[in-house]
Amino acid sequence: MEFLTAISITPFVEIADSPVFFAEVAINGLLTGVMYSLVALGFVLIFKASGVFNFAQGIMVLFAALTLVGLMEHGLPVWLAMILTVGVMIALAFAIERLMLRHLVNQEEIILFMATIGLAFFLEGFGETLWGSNVKRLDVGIPDMPLEFGGILLSSFDLIAALIGAVMVASLAIFFQKTAIGRALRAVADDHQAALSVGIPLKTIWIIVWSVSGMVALVAGIMWGAKSGVQFSLSLIALKALPVLILGGFTSVPGAIIGGLIIGVGEKIAEVYWGPAVGGAIENWFAYMLALVFLLFRPQGLFGERIIERV
């Protein structure tokens, strides 16, 4: 009975008691959600263009952040280190296409998926061999001050992160809709063979997609790294991005954004109001359960392409 009250009455009473605090929690959730979206975006880009479910995206975030920090520790200025890291991520995309994807064309999805898990292991070992495995601080000069809007306390860092996320999504959308390469990418996503037959170079497209998602990983790595330090646990945010993906649909960029926001808010609210009743630390699985409930009603995710099955 006590437990039932704790989960069905107390949270709502608390919400009604202090709506300002509730708004604060919700907005903080939204801002975290943007960060999830950033990681999920990398997944979606690759899945759309090559049908590969890239489990290594989380490690790519870590790898990009490690490279950036490592270069900065060698005394390079921030802007130069960033340019070099972008170069490294593009080189990585080349290597992945040459050494891995090219040989796995036409394999089943699960084989490609396992190959990216292998890639995740490799990159983790590689990154830590190069740059060491202790926790590093990443400071790219984004101010982190508490701001107050109408009684709601926010961190300026989170706001800037959200802003950067929004700019990034907008520029990706323009890239996809307005440029020739973007059109080619969408063509490949729709139908590999048809795209090939009208002369779109599949391999180049793959390199571009992996490079772009490498850059998305770099941005996500900077944001998360500046927030919580660059360390191995950074790669585990990939596991946070998965429910975002299934919620939004694997193939939808807006889905990744909206999904990230829903998960971010839902998770924060559940943790603050329902967490104490069940013993806390529920954010590990809550996102998955939320996504699962959504899936039962929309098996393709919120914005995914409708699954049509034919015999």
Binding site: I110, F121, F122, L292, L296
Partner: protein, 361 residues
């Protein structure tokens, strides 16, 4: 010449439908079993437990889990990333049952724990009717995280033990101690071996029959399977139940005959991934493949850890760990490129070659 079925005539349907219709296969299995039951304990007489503890016991237990996952993923086509959690359910169920009823025979406890896991598997298999492929895989991750969280948060599961671990109490079979820290490695090995042998044979039989064929039809195309009259829900749930049963028993053995005591961390997502690696590298939809994959994934880290010493150069421990990761990842990718259908496929090719060797006419 040696591996050739010419001249082996079948005069009845029963003999034609035997599990191992080719005599050489039957001999091979018999030899492997004799080797495992007689030769291994004899060879290991007097040696230390390293071989048992680091290689043989984990290999056998993980093979069992791999068979379980292979039934679900390789035969029924339902991708699962929750194997670790199902193993945890088996382990914790065994612990609860055997501490509540200390007199109950440990074999019965293991089987009961497997059944409990099967029940949990059915619950988490329910979404599989509506969602497929990677969506389902992510849904099983929900099981992975939720179950482990539950075992961590609710003290009832570990009997309110302050450190939050479960420890295998000593249990005997035929007067020989087989679980707990005091049990000899040999006794635990034989116990695990017996479970694996019996359950592997059962699985092999199961997938040859009507149920296995229905699963394979569902795997190949579930709508077509539904149209020819295979009921999807009961069959998918059955696949989840049986797969979870195998994983549950494997998890119980993992704690009771291998680790001795465990926390939920022993069953984290990396265990699930490892077992998925085993069935992919071994071969999807193959019982033999489960064993080959388990051998590969268990032996590879052991070899990698010991390799620098053999080659005679020393490395810093953390550096070695990182290089192990790199080699492991690279080898996985290499394997997938070289033979995406796994070691079982290589074995099949070898057998076909062997039929014409050494006189290819």
């Amino acid at each position: 010449m040696f591996y050739r079925e010419a001249g082996q005539f079948k005069t009845s349907y029963t003999s034609d439908q035997a599990i191992f219709p080719i005599r050489q296969d039957l001999w091979f299995i018999a030899l492997v079993l004799i080797f495992a039951y007689v030769a291994v304990p004899l060879l290991m007489q007097g040696a230390d437990d390293y071989m048992y503890q680091a290689v043989l016991i984990p290999f056998l237990i993980l093979s069992l889990a791999a068979i379980g996952l292979n039934i679900l993923t390789g035969y029924a086509g339902l991708l699962s990333l929750g194997t670790g959690a199902f193993m945890a359910v088996g382990a914790y169920a065994t612990y609860k049952i055997t501490t509540a009823f200390p007199g109950l025979d440990i074999i019965v406890v293991f089987i009961l724990a497997g059944m409990v896991t099967a029940g949990v598997g059915i619950v988490f298999g329910l979404p599989s009717l509506r969602i497929k492929g990677f969506y389902l895989a992510v849904a099983t991750l929900a099981a992975q995280f939720f179950i482990l969280w539950l075992f961590n948060k609710v003290p009832w599961f570990y009997n309110y033990f302050p450190s939050g671990t479960i420890t295998a109490p000593p249990r005997e079979l035929l007067g020989v101690l087989i679980t707990g820290p005091e049990a000899s490695a040999q006794a635990r090995y034989l116990m695990v071996l017996s479970f694996v042998a019996v359950l592997a044979l059962l699985a092999k039989n199961l997938i040859r029959g009507r149920i296995g064929r229905q699963w394979m039809a569902i795997r190949d195309m579930d709508i077509a399977a539904e149209i020819i009259g295979i009921r999807l829900l009961p069959n998918k749930l059955l696949a989840f139940a049986i797969s979870s049963f195998y994983c549950g028993v494997a998890g119980a053995l993992y704690v009771f005959c291998y680790l001795g005591s465990a926390e939920t961390e022993a069953f984290d997502i990396f265990l699930s991934f490892n077992i998925l690696f085993m069935i992919i590298i071994g071969g999807l939809g193959s019982i033999l493949g489960s064993f080959l994959g388990a051998a590969f994934i268990t032996l590879l880290p052991v070899l990698l850890t010991n390799a620098p010493q053999f080659l005679g150069f020393a490395m810093r421990a953390d550096m070695q760990k990182h290089i192990e990761f790199m080699v492991f990842g690279a080898l996985i990718i290499l394997f997938l490129i070289a033979e995406p259908r796994g070691l079982a496929r290589l074995w099949q090719i070898a057998k076909e070659k062997l039929r014409r060797w050494p006189f290819p006419y």
